[in-house]
Symmetry: C2
Subunit: 266 residues, 2 copies
DNA sequence: CAGTGGTCTAGACCACTGG
DNA sequence: CAGTGGTCTAGACCACTGC
């Protein structure tokens, strides 16, 4: 019995849009492969398969859902397009993770002018501050909390080749990140998002950034060791887990003398 | 005979990787649908079908290439994912264009703080300068020209609600844009990239942007009506046509008091 | 070698568009 | 209604991985 690690089938609407005298608006027709995708997504959210692990093979999933392999293939194709899952021919389909060398800095678009990939060696990290407090109203709004709810604030500086380059002010909801401390952060090798995955079961899946140019104030100058009124790139990120739940507000300030924010349009 | 508007079949390698005692490196196996994609891409580049027009139906293409519908479907799926083509159920598959209301500002990521889509009404455009000259070395490098080759330089200011917000310095290769003048630009309603398509047969397909924060100098202050040393977002874009040919270097300066550059990560 | 994802086919049927 | 893209199936075979 392949009863382990399989999502419950729930209700698959197999019949094509069985609208007997269509009742009202929005027939809400959803193709089979979308429903399958939804079910797999649920399993991912619930943590049925952990980041880095393989999910069942297409054939197994097809058998379990009682659909053809082509249909689950299309479902998985979309999950792969969303970067929720990674396909590897001959090996299987893996829950994607921030903990791999390849995609270390998946969400960091800052590049050195020299153009080298994956930065000039790993960044040096310095935790400036890490404290629990009550959410200011703007933070609460961004994280879909009530003002006054417990949040965690982390301030840190990232340096490349001993040059302070990024100053980050990170806000996390208190509940999911209970037990996160400065020491915990300092003791962990690798990307912060990887720690979130392994230690707190929180997967960052998607993010939105709002970018502006601002002038460095006194505090920024100290921490980033730049002259007063140096223009800085202000990058405000909201990162989401599954289900579009906001799980992080990150306000970053980038020094862009020797680095730039890279973006691709299509 | 469906001989019009069909790409020549050229050589389709149907046999699966017929490597008799593999000769050297890189078998260069390429699936059928990739080859089909390449052929359709050629037709697009050559202009066999113009932006906004439909391409032949999947069935017709399948018949012409002597493959199954599913195979051309997969080819077209990728073209659609690359935004080179747009599928519309029941109508057909269309060569994508910058001239449609929906995607007017496909490459402009600046959003008003108010969050409203498609900006607060259309932008007011003011051509500050438009001249032909010989390519400086940095421009030549970006456009894959030789230094001294003819280029066109356009300077313009975009305003939203009468507030100057974007200052752009646009460099175009002289040859493909022969006949482009300030008056031509001023007389055209709609996005500049739409004009490029209809008047010069140049389709911008993809772009890369490098973003930094800089301080406004005197000229910037005049044109954008901001105080000296106001921090500005510097956006250097290289836009490509088919075949990854660079066709535009655009240096933009954005005022980010009431607007922000929006990006999505996944 | 068995097991995985990847390609290709042929055919049936559905949903949407427009005349 | 005919024609388009969209879904789903079943089956064959290929390419890659690891034992």
């Amino acid at each position: 019995m392949a009863s382990t690690a399989f999502p419950s089938t729930e209700s698959l609407v197999t019949e094509g849009n069985a609208n007997i005298s269509a009742p009202s608006v929005t027939p809400a027709f959803s193709p089979l492969y979308q429903q399958i995708k939804g079910l797999i997504l649920n399993s991912l959210r619930v943590g049925e398969w952990k980041p880095g692990e393989t999910i069942p093979s297409e054939i197994d999933l097809a058998a379990h859902f009682k659909v053809s392999q082509g249909t689950v293939r299309k479902a998985i194709d979309e999950l792969a397009a969303d970067n929720l899952v990674v396909r590897r021919q001959g090996k299987g389909t893996f829950v994607s993770t921030h903990a791999e060398r390849q995609v270390q800095y998946r969400f960091l678009k800052l590049m050195p002018d020299s153009g080298d990939l994956s930065q000039e060696g790993p960044a040096q990290r310095q935790i400036v501050d890490c404290r629990r407090l009550r959410a200011p109203s703007d933070v609460a709004r961004a994280l879909a909390l009530r003002p006054g709810d417990a949040v965690l604030q982390v301030k840190r500086v990232l340096s490349f080749a001993d040059k302070p380059t990024i100053l980050e002010d990170i806000w996390l909801p208190g509940a999911p990140f209970k037990g996160l401390t400065a020491d915990r952060l300092r003791g962990y090798e690798g990307p912060m998002y990887a720690l979130f995955e392994t230690e707190f079961g929180v997967r960052m899946v998607r993010a939105e950034e709002k970018i502006r140019a601002i002038s460095a104030d006194h505090l920024h100058c100290q921490l980033l060791r730049v002259e007063p009124v140096t223009p800085l790139l202000s990058v405000e990120r909201i990162a989401f887990t599954y289900h579009d739940l906001p799980m992080e507000l990150r306000r970053g300030l980038y020094v862009t003398n020797t680095h730039y924010y890279r973006n691709e349009l299509s």
